[in-house]
């Protein structure tokens, strides 16, 4: 009886903290304009949306351009505001990025909250958390243009068995995805998150290959890849490279989180 207001207004449980919060009831919702939220306002505030980007290519958030101290001045000169960050310049020195375009966008900064959220989602199997981002990803992808094919990064069979689901597939529920990629047989078994940048780039060079049956589909197509996080970009660039090799016209990627570097440094210690 005490909570008449809750009864009338209708409350929702936050997907993260399970706390009650006022539902989406509002005039905005009533006319059909409301985007569904799954988190309570308090938890929602802990997410750091990327509103401004510093790099047109990898979508690095303007709020924190983390770079090795020694290279910073170079980056400042060559990148220019809103152009290309040091990272992407580095990538562009090698093949195929000297001639192929690459565009990445992410929803949120990979801050401690996001780190917790993603680990609960991925490693502890709270798949429902993916629903927070499904729509937002769709919206984000729309900003990059239209795509004929949408795909995700595959998981190693063993890892898939451990986890029970593919995080990319869970996040891309609002797209109709086509599985394109698979691992080459020789690939190492170590988790991506346990390695350094150089290791990753080296290891991932040519780690993906296209499934036989989809090879003819790719030529001249615009492809979107969906994943949970962009750290160094090694995985996504490697996947994109594979697609470019088979004649894709344009490859773009979107992820939920975008690492800015600070966090990585602090957690590495």
């Amino acid at each position: 009886m005490s909570s008449w207001r809750d009864l009338v207004v209708g409350t929702e449980n936050c997907l993260w903290c399970d706390g009650l919060y006022d539902g989406m009831l509002s005039w905005t919702w009533a006319v059909g304009l409301w985007k569904e939220e799954k988190l309570c306002p308090q938890c929602y505030e802990k997410l750091e949306p990327i509103t401004e980007i510093a790099c047109e290519e990898c979508g690095r958030p303007a709020s924190s351009i983390w770079m090795p101290r020694t290279e910073k001045e170079v980056a400042g000169k060559e990148a220019g505001p809103g152009k290309k960050c040091f990272d992407c310049i580095r990538w562009a020195k090698g093949k195929p990025w000297d001639e192929c375009s690459f565009q990445h966008r992410a929803l949120y900064v990979y801050n401690p909250f996001m780190q917790e959220l993603l680990s609960r989602f991925k490693y502890r199997g709270d798949v429902e958390l993916a629903t927070i981002f499904q729509w937002q990803l769709k919206k984000l992808a729309r900003k990059l243009g239209t795509f004929e094919i949408v795909t995700t990064i595959p998981l190693k069979d063993k890892r898939h068995w451990e986890r029970g689901f593919n995080q990319g597939d869970a996040l891309s529920k609002q797209f109709s995805t086509t599985p394109l990629l698979q691992f080459k047989q020789s690939h190492s078994e170590r988790k991506q998150s346990k390695r350094s940048r150089e290791e990753r780039i080296r290891d991932l060079k040519g780690v993906f290959q296209l499934k036989e049956e989809v090879i003819p589909l790719i030529k001249g197509k615009e492809v979107l890849i969906i994943d949970d996080i962009y750290t160094t970009g090694a995985t996504l660039r490697s996947a994109a490279e594979t697609l470019y090799c088979h004649g894709a016209k344009r490859v773009c990627t979107v992820t939920v989180a975008r690492s800015t570097g600070e966090l990585k440094v602090s957690t590495d210690k």
Partner: protein, 762 residues
């Protein structure tokens, strides 16, 4: 699919509207309002199902509406004389002193029955044999008048039964005890009991209205003052009352140590009884059903949202009685509750006063278009008056009223105590309300907004709520400005009208003519009509043409100020409603003919004018004025006429190039005088003198004026036999087109640059 149940209730309303009133703008608006959120929120294929379901609901309710119309189709021819039927509403005394109630005949057809008081009323729920004649309800005879035929049709009633004789005892069904009849008896006993405490005290009628939802004991003036100040909702048993009842019972029961669950169960069982006790109006049913649903939901720990509950209850009520969509109480109750639920985001304030302010603001704003559509005016003081009266009524008068009634049932001697508290405080508050109402400056008369305007206002207000939620200052100011603009547009439309309108209203036997000049350069009322009464004088305000015809007509047209109130002479059927008119409108100047003496019956009326501080000018031949190119010349009286009719003011007017002669009640003598004094007096439109009496409209006068059109204002079946056949004959022989208010209803003439268009209501 079931995320937006409110869309389905909108679509069910739309379906019913398509069935009842066809493809009007209202039907389409509800279709759009219902489908739009469904369409906008489509995100995947599954959501399309909801659209499909929406179409299904629309179709089902369309068919249901058609079926209901078929069901309510009349099986009578009008010449039946005897009926056996059950009384299905509480009999009430009408202003004309008859019992009024609805009966349901054996075939299922409903009739509106009237019977004389000396027959005694039948009891509610009784089956009786009725003897009497059927009569079709008459359509409205004046613009913005009460559409009685439509009102009844929307209740599924096609005939009025004027009962001459009724027998109930022989048709009594075997006595069956039912909780329903017991409760009703208890209710009536309670009403009588409270009224018996002090019949003449307004406190009694207010208590009856608040506790039993029965307003018939309130005077029309009291209801009007509550309505004008926008607090009439307080007298309707609604959410506030039900909430208070629940709170009180819950409090008492928990004091007795009952568990929450037990209390809820008791309340769930009690609320249906409360619906009956409180009179069963749609607002009571809505509020009680919602509370019951919430109680059930909270005891079984379901999750159901308020907006879904109200939507489902709306659909359920419409299934129970589809004609409810035309019920103003139903419309207002659901509209405001829906708005309040959806606006919950705006109510996140701790301060109870600010909360009350916001709630009142939202409720008043969302009901504004509907209020204007039905009542044409609104008080600027609505918000502050609500802020004072809501706590006063709901926290003070209402609990005391309940206490009075409970004490009356249990310990009658103690009833006096709370009663006197109510009586005293109500007197103070009503005194203040009355003085506010009599100031009149706060009333803004918008006129009746068109259907389009009403819908645009609704949309703008919803937009306003949306931007208020988003907390964007600039946007909300923008929409607020748009809303203000729309309201001003509505207010100022008459000032841009380029044509003049002259309306001869049908006030029964009597005259009332409204002259509206182009661009609102002037609004003149020539005579006020009036009821001729024989024997004792009854309450003159209640049912006269002033309240019933002139006020709605003027207010519907957005008139709040009468520039010239011209009283042609001192007879009751011409000036009878003066007091009502000066009370309801600002009158710039009043005119009365120059004469040797003023008849007794006119004196009290003229006093009303002087009391209001309105200058009273005596008019005589030769007076004239000109406004915006329209010319008015008074050609009669000279001031020494002896007979009252002959003293009538006669005005010759040239409006937009068309000439009029408003003749009052002059008779042959004055006509002769005019013929003698005026060599030429060519008139296009003649208001035939003295309701078409034989003693007026002489041959020579008609020859002088030579009108194209004659308008006769006379009452239907009047006892004087006006208009006289000789006069009609005379007019016909001259090829004059005749319009008669007794046959045509109100006659409305629109004139623009010498072009004339005449409309009648029937």
């Amino acid at each position: 699919m079931l995320k937006r149940i409110y869309c389905y209730s909108l679509l069910s309303i739309s379906g019913l509207l398509f069935a009842f009133i066809g493809t009007s703008i209202w039907s389409w608006s509800f279709t759009v309002l219902g489908f739009l959120p469904l369409i906008i929120s489509i995100k995947n294929r599954k959501d399309c199902l909801s659209l499909l379901f929406g179409f299904f609901i629309l179709g089902v309710f369309y068919l249901y509406g058609q079926w209901s119309i078929d069901q309510s189709k009349s099986s009578y021819y009008g010449d039946e004389l005897g009926f056996i039927g059950k009384v299905i509403t509480e009999p009430m005394i009408t202003t004309t002193g008859n019992w009024s109630y609805e009966i349901k005949e054996k075939s299922g057809e409903k009739l509106q029955a009237f019977s004389r008081t000396d027959l005694g009323p039948p009891l509610f729920g009784e089956t009786c044999y009725f003897e009497g004649e059927l009569q079709t309800p008459s359509p409205t005879r004046n613009p913005y008048g009460f559409e009685y035929d439509i009102y009844l049709k929307q209740k599924g009633i096609h005939w009025i039964l004027n009962t001459k004789n009724l027998q109930c005892s022989t048709y009594l069904e075997p006595k069956k005890w039912s909780i329903d009849t017991t409760l009703r008896k208890l209710r009536i006993a309670g009403i009588d009991g409270v009224m018996d405490i002090d019949t003449n005290n307004e406190a009694s009628s207010i208590i009856v209205a608040l506790v039993f939802g029965e307003r018939q004991f309130l005077t029309d003036e009291r209801i009007t003052s509550y309505r004008q100040l926008g607090v009439l909702h307080l007298l309707a048993v609604s959410g506030l009352h039900v909430g208070l009842v629940i709170f009180a019972i819950n409090y008492i029961l928990s004091r007795f140590g009952l568990t929450n669950r037990m209390t809820s169960i008791i309340l769930i069982l009690f609320l249906p009884l409360y619906i009956v006790i409180a009179g069963g109006a749609p607002s009571v049913i809505r509020a009680s059903l919602m509370s019951m649903t919430f109680l059930i939901v909270s005891t079984v720990r379901w999750k159901l949202k308020g907006i879904d509950v109200i939507s489902l209850i709306c659909i359920a009520l419409l299934l129970y009685d589809p004609f409810l969509i035309f019920h103003l109480g139903f419309q207002l109750s659901f509209l405001t509750s829906f708005a309040l639920i959806v606006s919950s985001k705006l109510f996140l304030v701790k301060n109870p006063f600010r909360l009350l302010m916001k709630v009142t603001f939202v409720a008043q704003l969302i009901s504004l278009p509907l209020t204007l559509y039905h009542f044409y005016e609104i008080s600027l003081l609505t918000l502050p008056v609500n802020l004072v009266l809501i706590p006063f009524i709901s926290l003070w008068i209402l609990p005391l009223s309940f206490l009075t009634v409970i004490l009356h049932y249990t310990i009658p001697p103690l009833t006096v105590l709370p009663y006197h508290f109510i009586s005293f405080s109500l007197k103070v508050v009503h005194y203040m309300m009355d003085s506010i109402v009599s100031w009149n400056w706060d009333m803004v008369v918008f006129g009746k907004p068109s259907n389009w305007m009403t819908i645009i206002l609704f949309i703008t207000i919803i937009l306003y709520f949306i931007v208020l939620e988003s907390n964007k200052r600039i946007n909300s100011m923008l929409i607020g400005a748009l809303l203000t603009f729309l309201l001003f547009f509505q207010l100022l439309t008459p000032y841009f009208r380029t044509y003049a309108t002259i309306t001869v209203l049908d006030v029964g036997q009597g005259d009332a003519i409204v002259v509206e000049l182009p661009r609102r350069k002037g609004v003149y009322l020539i005579d006020t009509g009036g009821v001729i009464r024989w024997g004792e004088v009854e309450d003159a305000n209640s049912s006269g043409p002033g309240k019933r015809v002139i006020e709605p007509f003027l207010k519907g047209n957005g008139v709040s100020k009468i520039d010239k109130l011209i009283l042609t002479h001192g007879h009751q059927d011409h000036i009878g409603e003066v007091c009502v008119i000066v009370e309801a409108f600002k009158v710039e100047t009043a005119y009365y003919p120059l004469s040797n003496d003023i008849p007794e019956e006119a004196r009290s009326k003229l006093e009303c004018i002087l009391e209001k501080g309105i200058p009273l000018v005596r008019m005589k031949e030769g007076d004239n004025w000109m406004v915006g190119g329209q010319r008015f010349v008074v050609i009669h009286p000279q001031g020494h006429e002896m007979e009252e009719n002959e003293r009538s003011i006669v005005i010759y007017a040239r409006i937009e190039g068309i000439t009029f002669l408003f003749t009052g009640d002059i008779e042959v003598e004055s006509e002769k005088r005019i013929v003698r004094d005026y060599a030429t007096l060519d008139v296009n439109i003649l208001k035939v003198s003295h309701h078409g009496s034989r003693s007026s409209s002489s041959e020579s006068f008609l020859n002088l004026t030579n009108p194209n059109v004659a308008v006769i204002s006379a009452g239907r079946n009047n006892i004087f036999g006006h208009p006289h056949s000789e006069v009609i004959e005379r007019l016909h022989s001259k090829g004059i087109i005749i319009y008669r208010t007794d046959q045509n209803g109100a006659v409305q003439m629109k004139i623009k640059e010498k072009k004339l268009k005449i409309n009648t209501l029937q």
